[in-house]
Amino acid sequence: MTTASLTGANAAANVPLKRRLKRAERARQLKALALVVPLLLFLLFTFAGPIAGMLWRAVDDHEVRRVLPQTVAALASWDGKDLPDENTYAALASDIQAARTAGTVAIAAKRLNYALNGFRTILTSTARNLKAMPEPGTARETLGKINAAWRDRATWTTIRNASGPLTSFYLLGALDLVRNADGAIVAAPSDQAIYREVFARTFLISLGVTVLCLILGFPVAYLLATLPPGRSNLLMIFVLLPFWTSLLVRTCAWIVLLQSKGIVNDSLHWLGIIDEPLRLIYNRFGVCVAMTHVLLPFMILPLYSSMKAISPAYMRAAASLGAPPLTAFLRIYLPQTLPGIGAGSLLVFILALGYYITPALVGGAADQMISYFIALYTTETANWGLASALGAVLLLATILLALVYGKLVQGQQVTGGMKN
């Protein structure tokens, strides 16, 4: 046999082996994926699906379409400049008749009332007074007599804007914007424009709490990272115990401490420092104190792990090269803690943005954050579209910040790996 045929035979034997290995590897990967799939399906049902559903509700607009189908169809060809034609009035009369029988007038009335205050009365009074289908050709006159609002172009624009199937109404509303009668996006009337202020408040409280956590957390993390392990492990209990204590317990503790007949006011009074109890809770101060207490461990732990990774040799090198301690700290130590500062601050900020329980329990009416309004519109007033739109804005902010956080933590791990 020649060498050529030998190598040829070898190659022929090699190919199936390679293919077999590849096939085995592929089977292994499929098996690995199969282990993850149950969790993915579970989260799809209990987490991703519900959130997608919420986002859908922020743009869904089916109520008017379902209750007043003929009116919506007739309005599709309306130019919006003048009052709609007689056919549209007749369609509305017929729709209202049908809706009254089906008992669905209130559904459309509720939706239209969001867009135009007082629409509920217009629609319900019309439904009540429209005894029978008007004679052909008299629908406009009859409806106008029952309620003068039907002679107003804005009434019809409101119905057309609410005719779906999708709407930007709730999302615009969440940002204090509305569409005017001509369809242009304008600022909402000042008595309805509250959400920008709520978002600004949420942002400011979260920022304040983050800064407080950083100021209080930095020295603690530094101490824990510098002390010998035995002692720092012992002191770590002071950080981990509150971390593990129920949120409700901690909030309850702050109320007991800070209320007007609470421990702090009593002690100050007993010491003769104050005569009247200070107002320490159910205001912004109480919210910031309680939230800082709850979130401080989330700042200390990432700071601690980034400081722990800094080799003391750097500081010694700086000192041996003649840097005064403060310069060495500012130029050598501090820059190396920046990833930890970034990660801790972002984590605290993200968590603070979505806070609900603590402000609800220790805040006043002017201290409620965005989550409070989402909860309010879901359970109390059942304006689910607006609740979902506010939720969508909060979710977007959270996801963007979480992406930045992910990049930051990933970068940290890479540099950490290179140092080792």
Partner: protein, 275 residues
């Protein structure tokens, strides 16, 4: 003391003293509120302030004899244990799979699996409220267990995943080469080694469910109210010393969980140090 004694200049000593003073104040800030309410639960009076008029166990008696609180404790246990078990099964399987799975989509899948931790509680709660109401899962134990499992599973994936990362896969290969079936290798080789990681994951999962209140606020009917839920309404209405008794009981549970976790961590470090 290595670092404190190596401080040479006075300014360094001042900075170090400052760090210690500030840290001590922060530690007091962190711990004092929790410690301050504990003695109040043993008060014989009904005012939540010091000095205590006398000591008694009347508020614990009140807690233990109240059907409302006992039902809440029972609910917290049922939902906590059930969602821990479910999240352990789902989370451990996923962690095992993710440890072997190589794909460029892996970071994406991981981000999805961990996202329930990051998304604000209210958003998850509102979404679930809309989603579960039409299929009859609001006001039911099953709905709450499913929701809490979704929140708790990321912690299981993280803890078990971290344990698997330090796991020597050659041990599994050795078991296979010695004739063990995959199931047998898992049961007799892998499982005993990752057991501490599993236990930590379970503790995290239980603590997550035991402390959760936002979803319970939205989804629980009067029958399913948990301990944090009862505390929420208690704090809203009027803080009675019975709530401080409940707080002490909850904190005791946290301390036990934390101590167990710390014990597991130490054991793990010892094992690693020995190997």
């Amino acid at each position: 003391m290595s670092d404190a004694s190596s401080l040479r200049t006075p300014s360094q000593r001042i900075a170090w003293t400052g760090t210690i003073v500030i840290s001590t104040l922060v530690f007091i800030f962190l711990i004092a509120p929790i410690l301050a309410i504990m003695p109040l639960s043993f008060s014989s009076g009904s005012y939540l302030t010091y000095p205590l008029p006398g000591l008694s166990l009347r508020w614990y008696d009140d807690f233990l004899s109240s059907p409302r609180w006992m039902n809440a404790l029972k609910n917290s246990m049922i939902i906590g244990v059930a969602s821990t078990l479910l999240s352990m099964v789902l989370g451990t399987l996923a962690a095992l799979g993710l440890a072997q799975w190589k794909s460029r989509f892996k970071p994406l899948v991981l981000a999805f699996v961990l996202s329930p931790v990051v998304v604000p509680g209210v958003i998850t709660a509102v979404g679930l409220y809309f989603f579960f109401a039409p299929i009859g899962l609001t006001g039911s134990y099953l709905g709450l267990i499913l929701a809490h499992t979704a929140l708790a599973t990321p912690f299981v994936v993280i803890t078990v995943g971290a344990t698997l990362q330090s796991f020597d896969t050659n041990l599994a290969r050795a078991a296979a080469s010695l004739g063990a079936s995959p199931l047998e290798a898992f049961r007799r080789v892998i499982l005993p080694l990752i057991l501490p990681g599993l236990a930590s994951g379970a503790l995290f999962a239980f603590a997550t469910s035991f402390d959760e209140v936002v979803i319970v606020l939205f989804m629980a009917g009067p029958e399913q109210r948990t301990l944090p839920r009862e505390m929420f309404s208690g704090i809203r209405e009027n803080i009675s010393p019975t709530i401080t008794a409940a707080a002490v009981i909850l904190t005791t549970v946290s301390v036990i969980l934390l101590a167990t976790l710390e014990g597991l961590r130490r054991r793990n470090e010892r094992l690693k140090g020995g190997g």
